[in-house]
């Protein structure tokens, strides 16, 4: 067949961003992100900076499912919260350095994610959200009842921050931030690695067209379980850092309101990886400001802002900014044809 006979001939070539330039943009963004993570405790109160970092990773873990696989989990508190407790329990009873305790919490979150994922990925859409919520509520119930282990409504108090006897890290929130943010960055890097792997490609295919993915021989349910467990691990890592940072784990971490933090990546823009951190920074900073001025109706303010952003920017803050910037760049340099 000749080239002319190809249907391709009808294709109108519109501007594309040249791959080389796109990867430059990626590196610049990465540098900005790293600088922001390092500079953060100089500009905001260090424990708040730690909260931003932890919620940023939680938001990334949600986006891994929502933005890249098309699964809305409404039970991610189960992984954030159970890791917060298990991390705390290990730190209290075993007395290992806190990164080891967090690793334990993370592994526990992944372990419970296996059966939960297995039982919920058969459902899609709102049913998937409901099943994950139901499991999260079950775990909340168990933590509430098992008073001797979890402290029930009092939460788990006095979680130590042991770190190889380095006193600044163990007592000063500023130094602790730098010790712990490394774990968060490691988690963010893992998410990036997963999304830009052959596995990540399959995830996008599943999100776009699960039936076609199956016709190509991909076991869609299995892939969903694996990404669910990986996502739970990242949420667990974030929850573990949070509980060490605060020195206690409360039932709040397991409550459905924590699962409700799925709005963080939606605010920032799903399927963008940067959207989660942007949304997390916005919400944590806002809540902190409102709390310091003694404002009661925090929920009303953040809720309203959420609605406005979702209505105004359908792709979220980051997603919209990226689209606009890309549009400007494309207008200036048209990509050369190859």
């Amino acid at each position: 067949m000749t080239e002319q006979s190809a249907p391709t001939a009808q294709l109108e070539q519109t501007a594309e961003v040249a791959p080389a330039r796109r990867s430059t943009v990626r590196w610049v963004l990465l540098a900005i992100g790293l600088v922001a993570a390092i500079a953060l405790p100089w500009f905001v109160y260090p424990p708040v900076a730690m909260d931003i970092a932890a919620w940023a990773l939680f938001a990334i873990s949600v986006d891994l499912l929502l933005g890249y696989t098309g699964l809305l989990s409404f039970g991610h508190a189960a992984f954030w919260g159970s890791s917060a407790y298990v991390t705390g329990l290990i730190a209290i009873h075993v007395g290992v350095p806190f990164p080891v305790a967090i690793l334990g919490g993370m592994l526990f979150a992944m372990l419970i994610a296996v059966p939960i994922g297995y039982l919920s990925v058969r459902r899609t859409g709102i049913y998937f959200a409901m099943v994950t919520l139901a499991f999260a509520q079950m775990i909340y119930f168990v933590a509430n009842q098992w008073h001797s282990l979890t402290g029930g409504e009092n939460g788990l108090q006095g979680i130590p921050r042991s770190f190889f006897g380095i006193e600044q890290v163990e007592t000063d929130a500023f130094y602790f931030y730098y010790a712990a943010v490394g774990l968060i960055l490691l988690g963010a890097w893992a998410a990036w690695r997963i999304l830009h792997s052959p596995f990540g490609r399959v995830l996008v295919a599943i999100r776009d067209n699960p039936a076609r993915a199956r016709a190509l021989g991909y076991d869609v349910e299995r892939y969903k379980v694996v990404v669910f467990v990986l996502s739970a691990g990242l949420a667990g890592l974030a929850g573990g850092v949070f509980s060490i940072s605060h020195g206690f784990a409360s039932l709040q971490e397991l409550a459905w309101t924590t699962s409700g933090k799925v709005v963080l990546p939606v605010l920032g823009g799903i399927g963008t990886l940067w959207g989660g951190p942007v949304g997390a920074a916005l919400v944590v900073l806002l809540e902190d400001k409102l709390a310091t001025i003694g404002f009661d109706g925090i929920g009303i303010i953040t809720g309203s802002i959420f609605i406005v952003i979702v209505l105004l920017f359908r792709r979220g803050l980051w997603g919209t900014a990226r689209t606009v910037l890309q549009g400007l760049a494309d207008r200036r340099h048209r990509a050369p044809r190859d």
Partner: protein, 256 residues
Amino acid sequence: MAPARTEREVLLATRGLTKEFRGFQAVRGVDLDIERGTVQALVGPNGAGKTTLFNLLTGFLTPTSGTITLEGRDITGQQPEQIAHLGVARSFQITSLFDQLTALEHLELALASPTGLGRRFWQSERRLATFHGRADELLDQVGMAHPAHRPAGQFAYGQKRALELALALALDPKLLLLDEPTAGMGLEDVDRTIELVRRIATGRTVVLVDHNMHVVGSLADRVTVLQQGEILAEGTYDEVRTNPDVVTAYLGQPHA
């Protein structure tokens, strides 16, 4: 006993294959034998059950009763991904692609499928570049020699159909099921697609659904006519065309 039969090998067979949707039988007691190396056309009016039959053969639907065997092995009730791994690939009547992926990315996925590379979440997606060469060949084969680095969601219709074919081919299937590959095409594109399918079909087994009798006449070794879920007639194109039942039921109208 007859020596001529030894070279006729049945690749896929169905017996009493039936699919019921809430009391309505879309496919009823279908006995089909697909011989290796042949092109078999499946024709019949809209709603005859052709797509449903494809969905049964590829595991997207579970039969209400009846069996499906591939190379003598019972595959009834297997999942679509398992059947794909056994060497049955299909194209979809309604174009079914991954909107966010480019043509090359589609083919890399299809080619990587049997290797298990897709499970590796710890490696760079650059690993998929091993399939570039083969992907280019396939694109060339279906006439997409210069694919755009654009997501398939933005492709022109003809391109989508071509990629649909390339995807099914990428699995190097024993049995290729094509559901209306010329649907919605102009005359020129139809002729091009006939040529393409002819080339693809050499050395392969193909089951083809098409409404266009010109397509069926030029490609099919055998034709099965389906009506209201049942096999109405079977034979060569000329046998079927002159079959009185078929003439009254379906081919009555003149065609190009």
